[in-house]
Symmetry: C2
Subunit: 221 residues, 2 copies
DNA sequence: GGAATGTTTTGAACGTGTTCAAGAATGAGT
DNA sequence: ACTCATTCTTGAACACGTTCAAAACATTCC
């Protein structure tokens, strides 16, 4: 049966994530993981081709949890500002246990070749899941977002979320207070900024921004 | 005389930067640098405490070059959009020889503990120099930028520049065509966006954005 | 049962960045 | 010229991530 194999894999992953949380990324060596899990180093590598892949395991788990908690937090919240706050705050919540590990994670994730790179192919599933959260935040809001923005907005918000995550990594205030402050301040501002799209003079600028985003995006395919 | 010592330091740095450019970051091992320079590994470490510090050497050099070429490119250009383009294009120009090396550089630079981290203490000088370029781009523009924006704008533009650099790293199009396109599209849009600050309804949003930026910034001190 | 095939596990070995005790070279003071 | 302290230089050694041939175990088929 495949159960035994899966059990070893799960054991290695669990031990690794626990050690990441408790002693950080660098101190969690492959040898230490193997020893703690009671397997050989080579065996850990049989299931995870690199230390990065163990980070990917963490990334997926965090994303899954975000999807659940965000969906809960969105219930009953109507306005876009509130919905944005809900998604961003829960995002920070699920990352919190790994804050000390954040900078190592980002350093790993930002490398195009990394399986954890949020723009990369290996994390398509995780990215889509994350995007879906923002899409739901936008689509479920009332008053509704201007039609012409609705298509691209989730992706732009997701991008902004990556920025928030980066800010969070650098945030040394206790409990990452500053990141919370940023979210609380920025969410209503984004909502208000978007509502300006109705003003004639502003509308054209919005159109051009969207046009630029699309043209730069298309060019890559 | 200190000349002999300085000579060795310079030799190691030159060899390292040359190898970074020609064979990339990972293949440029400390042993290879030492051998090519004709010194021992330990000796290279006497001058540079880590491989990262050799990257810092590169960072400083690139920044210096940017300051020079940007100042040239700004001459005779009046409008903000043009000045922004000048600064951003020259920025990409000086980085160009290191494009293949870009992702490793960013992965190194993004780690808060790295001497090359653009937000960190070790690169205060380089960051100030870079900020000064943007300050000059803003202050020298006519028609002038709205007074209330003038103070914070350079810093925000510098931040956007970091974003452009990140985009550039991921840009796989030949000669990084897409990054050029992004710059050409975004620069006039930023200028036009800023001119909207005069519209009453928009003005308040601008004020709040600035207020948020300041409050989040202050909190860190 | 037993061979053949496929899956899982092992631990030694490699090349890496980095450290450090020891030694060589240099310079200052007398 | 001769100390003595300071500055440079060396190369072996360490822990790390990663690889891989070989062994152990499991499964399938006759």
């Amino acid at each position: 049966m495949a159960a035994k194999s899966e059990q070893t894999r799960q054991l290695v992953a669990d031990v690794a994530l626990k050690m990441f949380r408790e002693i950080g990324f660098e101190k969690t060596t492959m040898r230490a993981i193997a020893q703690e899990a009671g397997v050989s180093v080579g065996n850990a590598y049989y299931y995870f081709a690199s230390k990065d892949e163990l980070v990917q395991e963490l990334y997926i788990q965090v994303q899954d949890e975000h999807a659940v908690t965000a969906a809960q937090a969105l219930e009953g919240v109507q306005d876009l500002a509130g919905r944005l706050k809900a998604v961003l705050h829960t995002g920070v919540d699920v990352m919190a246990p790994y804050h000390q590990f954040g900078s190592d994670f980002i350093a790993t994730a930002i490398r195009p070749s990394s399986p954890v790179n949020p723009f990369g192919e290996a994390s398509t599933a995780a990215r889509e899941a994350s995007l879906a959260i923002f899409r739901s935040a936008v689509e479920g809001s009332s008053p509704a977002v201007a039609k012409k923005l609705r298509g691209d907005l989730p992706e732009l918000l997701w991008l902004a979320y990556m920025g928030v995550a980066l800010f969070w990594v650098y945030d040394k205030s206790e409990s990452q207070r500053r990141t919370r402050k940023l979210i609380d301040g920025a969410a209503p501002l984004v909502a208000r900024g978007l509502s300006l799209a109705k003003i004639p003079g502003v509308s054209k600028v919005f159109d051009d921004v969207l046009g630029l985003v699309r043209s730069v995006k298309e060019d890559s395919e």
